[in-house]
Subunit: 191 residues, 4 copies
DNA sequence: GATGAATGAGCCTTCATTCAT
DNA sequence: AATGAATGAAGGCTCATTCAT
């Protein structure tokens, strides 16, 4: 293993330790000391990889599957099934409510974290809007609302469900809760 | 002005100062020292009114208009207009994104704050579920979904819109963003 | 009940409340607020009766039965039985270890408390020395040591037993522990 | 000087500063800020070495010479001279009354400190009881009392003398006071 | 690049005491 | 004489960050 690989490994170690701790306690309650202890490195080493805790949360943020969204509009036939399938994938994270709560805490914890989060949302909006426009073109989605607005509401719905679930409500499985919620959403945007 | 009134005034002073500061900076970044300085009282006085910062946020939390929701189901005719009207009232808070962000930070900042928030949601759920059941009885809302589930999704939608907006996206006016979002939601639950 | 009586009653109320709290927690841990709450008076009222907490402990200090000691030397015959009887009276306080610990904490907690304690010890020393001198005159106690020294050691023995017991060791009953200890002591000073 | 040595040095610096301050004022009156200032370190550094002030006193506690006591019972001939010699060693600490008072305050200041103290007493009791049993076997000490009880009273005597002396009474030298006191004690337990 | 002891600003909180009512 | 809201000094303690090794 060369030097570059080792660095990557250490960095991932730190991220994993942080995720675990965020899930066990919370974003705010987790200290850098705890993270480095669990990652098995010295405190000082942390700062060779991340400028500060804020930086860390930016790296952890739940992946918005932008790439997958982009590919949807290439699919023939109805688009909704593909979107539904994507939503079901959320299960795969096996995220605990605690972790999701920590993520929610993290993304609104600081201006920088918010900015970072908004950038990611921007990209998602772009990709998703195109999908919805395609759906409107194909007559699958209503054209009575601008695609951008539908997209925005979709993301709001996603965020709301995630927040609600992370607070300890809804189905024990986040994926299920998402799917149910989006069934209703789909109904409202179908042509 | 008697003692009792003076107490009430001081308490409100503290709350106002806190709200201002939360809006300017954030929940986490605001210190008790800052709050008392702005409220023009001694630091110790704060603790005569609130056990800690956590306690404070519980008092600030945006009021869920539970009472108003309860009254809706007594109304004759269509219910949606009344609900829509209630949603439009959110404007009245003239809340800034910053403040709403602080509220969002506050309610997920600690187990206690979450518990408090859940209690409030519980009450709202109870009231709103009855409204939706009434709507289903009247044939205004779809009966293909349990009222409780519809209610849950409504709250998710509300939370999601609030979170999204507080992060700096959506219409400049929270009320407008809410109304638009709920139009779509209504569409999905109409019979 | 006249004003004077009422004052005495309030004062005693405060003392009782303080003793209870010292016994439950400790001298240091007990706050004036707790004392006034239990005594059912306002915080400010406390300062009408005591200048501060230090003052309070001086009033609580376990009574050294100086008067009883003085009377012993008037008794005919052997003196030890009378002393032994006095020691057995300690039972009567029904003091808990906790309370005794609080008393021990109290008497060494501040220069003023120590000074007060020393004054009381001084008086006891004077009274007890006379008893011992009388015992030496009667040939009951050894004359190989000065009465003052024997007296000093007796008090040390008393203090040590009290401290040891208050820390949770020795017989469950303080009186028993005292009697046993002093039996040995008597043996050492008998002629 | 390597890192490890430096740490040891800093730790000892802190302890020395604390002992000095305890002796000058008292355990309770001494603040961590004062300790760190005198030790010439930052306040935060204190907490790298001790979890809190309570922890500190546990380290300072006057050494009970358990090891030395254990060795006594191996000695041939009379045991009392060896015990007497040990007691005389107390001089060596050159402890001031103030410091001893601080120690006394410290050991009964908190449940944790008491527990720690009791553990040390326990060990001493074990060691000392064996010595006394040996003395009883050799016919040096009275067998009319269980060794454990004699041992207990010895410790009470020690504690009482220490407390009495620390309050400002007795011979100016603690060692002298101890020796005198124990002469009487020995007399009471000799066969 | 890794280490971890040292830092120190600044946090929350306590509580004896005051004083206007 | 009683009240209790206001005070504010002072306490213990946290923790991100630095830097010499």
């Amino acid at each position: 293993m060369n030097r570059e690989d080792k660095k990557r490994l250490t960095r991932q170690n730190v991220l994993n330790a942080a995720i675990e701790l965020f899930a066990e306690q919370s974003y705010e309650a987790t200290t850098i000391t705890q993270i480095t202890e669990r990652a098995g490195i010295a405190k000082g080493t942390f700062f060779n990889y991340f400028a500060n805790k804020e930086d860390l949360i930016c790296d952890i943020q739940v992946i918005w599957a932008v790439e997958e969204v982009r590919r949807i509009k290439e699919q023939p036939g109805l688009l909704i099934p593909h979107i539904r399938y994507l939503i079901m994938q959320i299960d795969k994270f096996h995220a605990s409510r605690q972790l999701m709560l920590a993520v929610n805490q993290g993304i609104i914890s600081s201006p920088k974290a918010i900015r970072n989060q908004l950038e990611q949302i921007d990209e998602l909006v772009k990709a998703l809007t195109e999908v919805i426009e395609e759906g409107q073109r194909r007559g699958e989605f209503t054209s009575s609302l601008p695609a951008a607005m539908i997209c925005e509401i979709a993301i709001q719905t996603y965020l709301g469900t995630r927040l609600y679930w992370s607070m300890g409500r809804g189905d024990s499985n986040l994926g299920t809760q998402m799917v149910v919620t989006f069934e209703l959403f789909f109904k409202s945007i179908m042509a």
